[in-house]
């Protein structure tokens, strides 16, 4: 899964999403509604099944095979391949690093994008649409191009280091590429447009009248933010966080290029195993770990939003 291809905004299914009509007294019209629903959903579901579900099942099945040193796959049904990374402390560290990288990138990205999204949502300027277009314009260039851009900017003789050295702030160039710092900087910038878009589309509940009502009732600007603005925008903020987290831990190109082989996360390990060592079963096993990580985070997200009674 590459970071450049998935723009999907997460709309996670929950109990609320069950089709209507679970009562005892089902009406005929409701049954017809449901038939229409399935008829309309069928092409999409079929497409998803073929392009997503089948490969996914194939991948999971692959994790139960055994990879042989010569690159051949032994068709079998064993837990060894899956257990191997769990018993190897190296893969525990890779998993932990992946998780931390996702958290850090999502946190920084959301914190930087939140004020921008708030400003763009509230702006009444006639340049508003232009500003929004500018904010998401980076999506017009591919992430690969932007990653190379960052490599130039952050490199030893790049813009940042030459400026800092020129100003005499540092004597030795800072190491900003081929490490986690570079990866985080690159990912944050590349994912910001997504974060801004998700937040802006989720700020619908923020009626400016609510903030005015709070202010008229004696709330200082800071209290208005803490008690009205933030709680009402928190669901959108959490969705953006989840999206950026998922995109980060599954991103490969930026991680690989800016990491320069020194950053080891699940995505890079999977790539190495699959294309370098041709050990597909082991790559599949690592992918399953990545999937479990997704699952854990989505479960946490759902619990949090439920707990906060925010998913209205």
């Amino acid at each position: 899964m590459s970071a450049t291809t998935s723009i999907a905004v997460p709309r996670l299914p929950g109990a609320d999403d069950l089709p209507p009509g679970h009562g005892v007294h089902e009406h005929r019209s409701r049954r017809r509604d449901r038939r229409t629903f399935w008829a309309l959903a069928a092409p999409g579901l079929l497409g998803l099944a073929v392009t997503y579900l089948l490969p996914l099942l194939y991948m999971v099945r692959m994790a139960f095979n055994r990879g042989k040193p010569d690159g051949f796959i032994e068709q079998t049904f064993t837990l060894d391949t899956l257990i191997k990374p769990l018993t190897d402390s190296y893969y525990w560290k890779v998993t932990l690093d992946t998780f931390l990288m996702g958290l850090v990138v999502a946190a920084i990205c959301v914190v930087i994008s939140y004020p921008l999204a708030l400003f763009l949502t509230r702006s009444t300027s006639r340049y508003k649409s232009l500003l929004i277009a500018l904010a998401i314009a980076p999506l017009l260039t591919s992430a690969v191009v932007r990653t190379y851009g960052w490599m130039v900017i952050l490199g030893g003789a790049g813009l940042v280091n030459s400026t800092l050295m020129h100003l005499g702030l540092v004597t030795v160039p800072l190491r900003l590429t081929n490490n986690m710092t570079g990866v985080v900087i690159g990912l944050v910038e590349i994912f910001m447009p997504y974060a801004i878009l998700v937040m802006m589309s989720g700020f619908g509940r923020l009626d400016p009248r609510l903030e005015e009502a709070a202010a008229s009732l004696g709330a200082r600007p800071r209290a208005v933010f803490a008690r009205i603005t933030l709680p009402l925008t928190l669901p959108a903020l959490l969705s953006a966080f989840l999206l950026i987290f998922v995109l980060s831990i599954s991103s490969f190109i930026t991680t690989n290029l800016l990491g320069g082989g020194a950053v080891h996360v699940l995505a890079t390990e999977i790539y190495d195993q699959a294309t370098g060592l041709l050990n597909w079963p082991f790559a599949a096993a690592l992918s399953v770990i990545l999937l479990v990580l997704f699952g854990v985070v989505i479960a946490i997200y759902q619990t949090v939003t439920r707990r906060l009674r925010l998913d209205a």
């Binding site: 509940r205 009626d207 009248r209 609510l210 005015e212 009502a213 709070a214 202010a215 008229s216 009732l217 004696g218 709330a219 200082r220 600007p221 209290a223 208005v224 008690r227 009205i228 709680p231 009402l232 009674r309 925010l310 209205a312």
Partner: protein, 365 residues
């Protein structure tokens, strides 16, 4: 008069330089405990005025004075106003009690007092049983009353209501009028009430400010604004009106405190009587006759000016006529107990001279 509760001094708001101001040198004084309706057509600057008083918007020029103190530059959160928005603006992430408690929380009141005052405020709007409910699940009328309780619980210096009834259905609107008025009188809260509905203003207000194009055309008691409008605009905006061109012929002596009775000449009606300010002899003025003051005589021998009935509308309480007299149609509203004329009938119209009023000369602006 003692210091007014609220005084607006040359209050002006210009949204964009070059454009006509939305509120233009507005002056007004509101007495303590009064409910004042800001009444006018959509776009005349009512909301803008209210938002400036609330502190949600800075005036371009002018001053806002409360209890003799200039508050123009005091920020909204220190003005202590209670505002009710047209959309109610209840906080969707708080239940009813938390909404009402919000202002008290911001004032850092101890919990026991807070709970007590929230309880009293909810009882006042008779919604105590909803305290723990989510606001989404409430009906429009309930949300309206919660918004009112939330604004009143802080004992605001002024209660500001922006078209509070316009989102309710007709039946509920009627009953909420009485309820809001009763609560306002019980609490004694000086209130500014924005509305475009003249019935609402007449029914509820102690004083009505009729606004037009950013200006107050007239400020006065409901009966005064209705019976003695200062301009054609006010006469037509408040209630229905027959406006006739009258030439004042002769002064027939005093009528009431400082008005005179006149003989006037009206095209289509000939010589009729009217009242107006002193010194109008020889002038031409617009004459106002309210439709329900016009008497419709079906009997051909009766006195009055003849006209042809163009249309009849029967409402049960009364019957409304459009009657063509000369080249203009006039409105009349008659009780339903007499004979009801039909379209095409010739009827005679007249009125008590005391109920025909000659408007003052309009100033150019």
């Amino acid at each position: 008069m003692s210091t007014p509760k609220l005084a607006l001094v040359d209050l002006t708001k210009r949204y964009q330089p070059g454009l006509a101001p939305a509120v233009d040198h507005l002056n007004m004084e509101v007495e303590e405990g009064h409910l004042v309706a800001l009444l006018g057509p959509s776009g005349c600057g009512k909301t803008t005025t209210l938002r400036m008083v609330a502190g949600l918007m800075d005036p371009t020029a002018g001053r806002i004075v409360v209890d003799g103190e200039d508050i123009t530059s005091i920020p909204v959160h220190r003005r202590g106003m209670g505002m009710v928005f047209q959309s109610y603006a209840l906080f969707p992430h708080m239940n009813v009690a938390a909404n009402v408690a919000f202002g008290l929380r911001m004032r850092r009141l101890p919990k026991s007092e807070r709970l007590e005052r929230v309880r009293r405020a909810l009882d006042m709007v008779q919604l105590g049983y909803l305290a723990e409910r989510e606001t989404k699940a409430l009906s429009g009328g309930q949300q309206q009353r919660i918004a009112l309780a939330r604004a009143l619980v802080v004992e605001p210096t002024l209660l500001l209501l922006d078209e509070p009834l316009s989102n309710l259905d007709a039946k509920l609107r009627e009953s909420m009028r009485g309820e809001i008025r009763a609560i306002q009188q019980r609490t004694g809260a000086t209130t500014l009430f924005v509305t475009h509905d003249q019935d609402e203003a007449l029914d509820m207000a102690d004083r009505i400010a009729v606004m037009n194009g950013g200006l107050i055309e007239q400020f006065g008691e409901p009966s005064e604004v209705y019976e003695r409008p200062r301009t054609r605009f006010v006469a037509e905006f408040i209630g229905r009106a027959n406006l006739l061109d009258a030439t004042v012929v002769a002064d027939r002596g005093p009528s009431g405190a400082d008005e005179r009775r006149y003989d006037v000449q009206v095209p289509g009606f000939g010589a009729v009587g009217a009242v107006g300010a002193p010194g109008l002899t020889g002038a031409t003025r617009t004459m106002l006759v309210r439709p329900h003051r016009v008497q419709v005589h079906c009997d051909p021998g009766a006195s009055g000016s003849p006209g042809t009935v163009e249309s009849v509308s029967y409402t049960g309480d009364s019957v409304g006529y459009r009657v063509r007299v000369g080249d203009r149609a006039q409105l009349a509203e008659a009780p339903t107990d007499g004979r009801i004329a039909a379209p095409g009938d010739v009827v005679r119209l007249d009125w008590d001279p005391a109920s025909a009023y000659l408007l003052p000369e309009e100033e150019e602006r």
